[in-house]
Amino acid sequence: MDSATHGTAPDHTPHVHVTPLWVYFVVFAALAAGTILTYLASTVDLGWANTPVALVIACVKGSLVILYFMHAIHSTRLTWVVILGSFLWLGVLFVLTFADYLTRSWAIY
């Protein structure tokens, strides 16, 4: 299997998947709405939930950009692995570093 020409049309030019216009505008509207939503949520006191709410909204917005604007939804499995791997590694950085900070019994925590 010649993976070098994977994802090409018979004449070996790139696959062109043209996203319909309406998809882009709907995603834009969702992103704008998300911005307004996160702003409004920050003005309401939700106690401990303010931070997670902001993070969730940001993650949803980011995912929309990745999936539709960056065409991840039409991309190869390898692209998915790269995207997910990046965030996984970021997760490793955060989790293992916080594992130290959250289990200390002295300053700074």
Binding site: A4, H12, T13, G62, F69, L90, T97
Partner: protein, 237 residues
Amino acid sequence: MSDVTYTGQTPVPPVPEVEEHPHHPFLQHHFEDLGQQHEASTLGMWCFLTTEILFFGGIMLAYWIYRLAYPDAWSVASTLQNTTLGATNTIVLIMSSLTMALAVREAQLGRRLGIVAMLFLTLIFGSCFLGIKMYEYHAHWQEGLFPGSAWHWNENPELAPKIQLFMTFYWGMTGLHALHMIIGAGLLLWFMWRAWKDQFGPEYYGPVEIMGLYWHFVDIVWIFLFPFLYLIHGHKH
């Protein structure tokens, strides 16, 4: 088992490979065809974005470590930001992402003027973002909120060093972000010129696509920076 021999291989004088079809002007010779070239450049840009995720991720780690350590200071410091301008900038950047995505679409459809127009709009929105950012920076500078020897905020002496730490993150993270946008703006100009010269079409739109990937990534960073830096006020966590 094998139909390749290992022996008797005297290096032969070169015989130029006969070209069966005309070369696309932008097909690089080490690639077999445009499809392979497109796949390779796209993968390359995604790998580069991986490094950017970890680059920004590093400073975000530091930001969060200190945010959880100094929630009050972070809260107060966030009120020093101009949330209206920040929100406006967020919308502006999202609009620029829309026009960038549309530029890629124009390239896929081979519409020369469409590509130029959309890239131009992206550049306009991006410049608008940078302009607003410069205004914010100027205001912060005037108020003495630049960390280091120019620092002036001392309203609450106990919190002041941590407020300064927050502002260090603010200037550092938004500064790195702005630097990426400036580079992006330069790239947009270059691509506008290339599009004007009619270099892109359905068989060769990769460069515009990877420009888009870069631009969208810079947008995503801001999507996180906005709530992190502007929207903490009033909450203790």
